[in-house]
């Protein structure tokens, strides 16, 4: 039990859109162990991003509980959630979301400035293979490079969990594979727990655990005994 970092129990999230109530997440329960590489797989609209946002402390559930290291984060105040995001969570978004007026290195430094136990920035930039692009602005970089900066920004904070929302969604196949490799390397090197959201079933092959979602429900949780190397993934 002690190696469980995240426990989600009977999680439910409803949205009100005009007069219609959308049940984005209906009843989700699962656990994630420390250092696991987890893929949440599902088509668009299945509720996976909503789930990830709640786990990451960016949104609050309608019902249910989320425990992070035995702490009930669903009871957290906004302020507690801010510090939770600041110190425990690293986010990687589909569209990178770098700050355009800061260079690659500055984007990473920005995140590091506010957290407690950061990793050396140059080391992280090297780890994502971008040491030579540190002083470039986002507009001067390709999508893959921007996403690697985004990963470096998330990793440098030394978070316990790295949450990645469709990290390859906006990239071509080859770049996508590079990004997945970076994520796997980070997972191994820094022993972070990594959770990747995707609609791409091929990516699930590299995960230790796959959580399948459809229409707001978890349909299946598969433990993958033999995850493959990212380089061997094809789609």
């Amino acid at each position: 039990m002690s190696d469980i970092i995240l426990k989600v129990e009977k999680l439910k999230k409803d949205y009100q859109m005009g007069e219609i109530t959308v049940n984005a997440v209906k009843d989700a329960s699962f656990v994630v162990k420390k250092g696991e590489f987890v893929v949440i797989l599902g088509p668009s609209g299945s509720g996976k991003s909503t789930l990830l946002n709640i786990i990451g402390g960016m949104d609050k559930p309608t019902d249910g509980e989320v425990y992070f290291n035995k702490e009930l984060i669903t009871d957290f105040t906004d302020k507690d959630l801010t510090f939770y995001r600041r110190n425990q969570i690293g986010f990687v978004f589909q569209f990178y979301n770098l700050l355009a007026t800061l260079t690659a290195k500055e984007n990473v430094e920005l995140a590091v400035e506010i957290c407690q136990n950061p990793i050396d920035i140059d080391e992280v930039l090297e780890a994502v293979g971008l040491g030579y692009r540190a002083d470039h602005f986002p507009a001067q970089m390709s999508g893959g490079e921007q996403q690697r900066v985004a990963i470096a920004r998330a990793v440098a904070k030394n978070p316990e969990i790295l949450l990645c929302d469709e990290p390859t969604g906006a990239l071509d196949f080859e770049t996508g594979i590079q990004i997945l490799k970076v994520l796997k390397d980070i997972n191994i090197k820094y022993k972070n727990t990594v959770m990747v959201i995707t609609h791409n079933a091929s990516i699930a092959k590299m995960a230790d655990k796959v959580i399948k979602m459809r229409s707001g429900n978890i349909t299946e949780i598969i433990k993958n005994e033999n995850p493959i190397e990212p380089e061997r993934i094809e789609w």
Partner: protein
Amino acid sequence: MVMKKLDQRLFRMIKNTKGQYIAVLAIIITGIFVFTAVSNSSINLKDSINDYYVETNFADIFVQGLSIPEKLERELPGTNNIKQAEARIVFDTSFITEDKDENVKVRVVSVDKNQNLINKLFIKSGKRTLSNRDIIIIEKFAEARNVFVGDKVKLRINGRQQEFNVIGIASSSEFAYMMENEQTFLPDPKNFGVVFLEENYLRKIYGTNGNFNEILIIAKDEKYIEQTVDFLEDNFDKYGVTRVIKRQDQHSNNLLGQEISGLEMMSKSIPVVFLTFAGVMLAVILSRIVKKDRTSIGVLKALGFTDIEIIIHYLKYAAIVGLIGGFLGSIIGTALSGVMTNYYLVFFSIPMLTVKVYYYRIIISVVLSLLFCTASGFWGVKAIIKINPAESMKPEAPKKGKRIIIENIKIIWSRVPFTWKIVLRNIFREKKKFIFIGAAVAITCGMMIMTTWMIDIIDVMFNRHYREFMMVQYNISFNGFTNENVLNELSEHLSIDKMEGRTELPFEIENGRESKIATIIGLRENTDFYGFKNTDGNKIKLPSNGILLSSNLAKSLNVNVGDRILIKSFISDKDVYVTVKGIVNQVLGINAYMNIDYMNNKFLDKGLINGAYLNSKDNVKSKLDDMKNITIQSQDDMIKAFEEFTTATAVSMGVMVVFSGILGFVIVYSMTLMSINERTLEFSSLRVMGFSKKEIFNMLVRENTIMTLIGIVAGIPIGLWLVDYMGKSFTTDIYTMAEPVNPISIFVSIILTIIFIISAQLMTYVKIKKLDFMQALKSRIT
């Protein structure tokens, strides 16, 4: 350390929006510098005058009489709240110049040989100790006439030419604003001055038998001055007291006070307009930036930045504007307050005029500007709190494309070309922004109207007064009352077009509790020299009995036609009730008018006059040079003095025009820049469709043109309101500023407004030309 990278982002954000940033900074600087310059000037002026009054022991009460015995100097102190008293001789006479055509008048004032007790002289050059044939000349007059210490000057005293040695040039606190009397409206130092002669010697040559005609009084306690004045009025009839004037009513002091009030009003009103616009602009700019940065803000929140940290990050944008604007504005303002204070030296003679640097006011200005900008900024960034990080990652839902009102009128809408449809939709969808542009144009236009009106009104007022109301070429005053027969004597010397005798005397006029000292002018019933019109603009005749009051006098006494008012004479005990027969429009001066026969009947003897109005083609001044005991005021002299005055004011009015223009220019420029930045995607799509840069620019121009037109239409009533407000604020005993705005002024204001707006538009074209539209379509970086 914590916010270091965010600060870096902030400076790059400022760099990227530098056009708008400089624009808002310019408005803040203008607002703060007007505030600092004007309020510092008023403080400088006020402090300097107070210091000057203290230093020179400026009198609390001035008593004018016919024959005041010297013994009062000793008897009065210690009684009736009187601390000090000093008697003197004061009279006006001719200053003889080499040019025979000139008629220069001086006021001769007797002073103690060494130093007088009250209204001490402030020696600028030379010495103060006077011997018999020595004279001290007031500085403004000496400057205007090029008189220096060591020169000799000639005066006509008691009918004889007397020569004096100039031993000193001095200033005097009672002549800081050197005006001849209440009937003159501007100082004319070339033709009117003040000179000081040794008391005993003057008594000898002037022949007053040891008596004086004025006594100056310093009160023990300011609180009881009214009682002292009452005592003097009630008990001094035996000395032929004509007027008891309190310090606040003393002509020079009164005018200085009015000038300071005007400055104080200006220091409060103009900066408020500028700062309000700067505040709204900052709020608009920041709210737009926050909207544009929605995803970035979401990312910052996701990274673990608190709402407060993010709000502070954006508020620094406003705070830096406030700090720089407040600092530069107050520094420029302090520097300019020196220039402005010195500008007053054109009119006022205040030797102790000090231009101080008020460090505490600089600090106050900076702090106020900082607080104001931060508060305005907060209004713009408060939406940050509502941004949900999870939501902000998703593209924002497109704006509701609801139809605008005009679209419902199908017949019109179907005929509107496509580009105009975009223009109209944009205006209706971004109402707040366009209302702001319209408001800026309206204020600019309104302020232009007010300024052009002020330039115009001085001219109009003079013309109205001297060409329509009082058509007098020469106003001759006799030293005392004389028989009407003197007019025959005048006609012998001159070829006269028109001439009438007149009486001019100050009276205290009362209506219940209201009371005012004003000059009543007695005129022939069918006078040719005055064109009286009532407040409705209809001509009225001078009635055979009763009284006409100038509109400002009627207002200050709260009197209407038909009311009965009490008129108290200073030269006799006759207090008479008369009926107000009419209220006349008079733009300069505060007066009342009576039929001369009726006036003489009530207060004087039949056939007496103390002056005459005449129109003549002769050079009256030189032809009447030999006549004793008269002073001549010519309309030409007044107009010349006025022209000098308008040149000086034209500069400050020009500055006002520029300020008004800056406001419109800056707001239109920055708001258009903002539009360009926000709509690059839209413009890029249009470019892809084949629109040229010029066509896109024209679209922006059309949007602004519509708002400029609406702004101008709204600006006209704002301008008229400002004119009314300024007119009421600046109306004093001397000026009645109630002239309507000339349509040409409105036209000029509109043209000036349009010029400023067009310049702003042309500046934004540079930005349109530089924009890389294609790049905007390619990337999506927050």
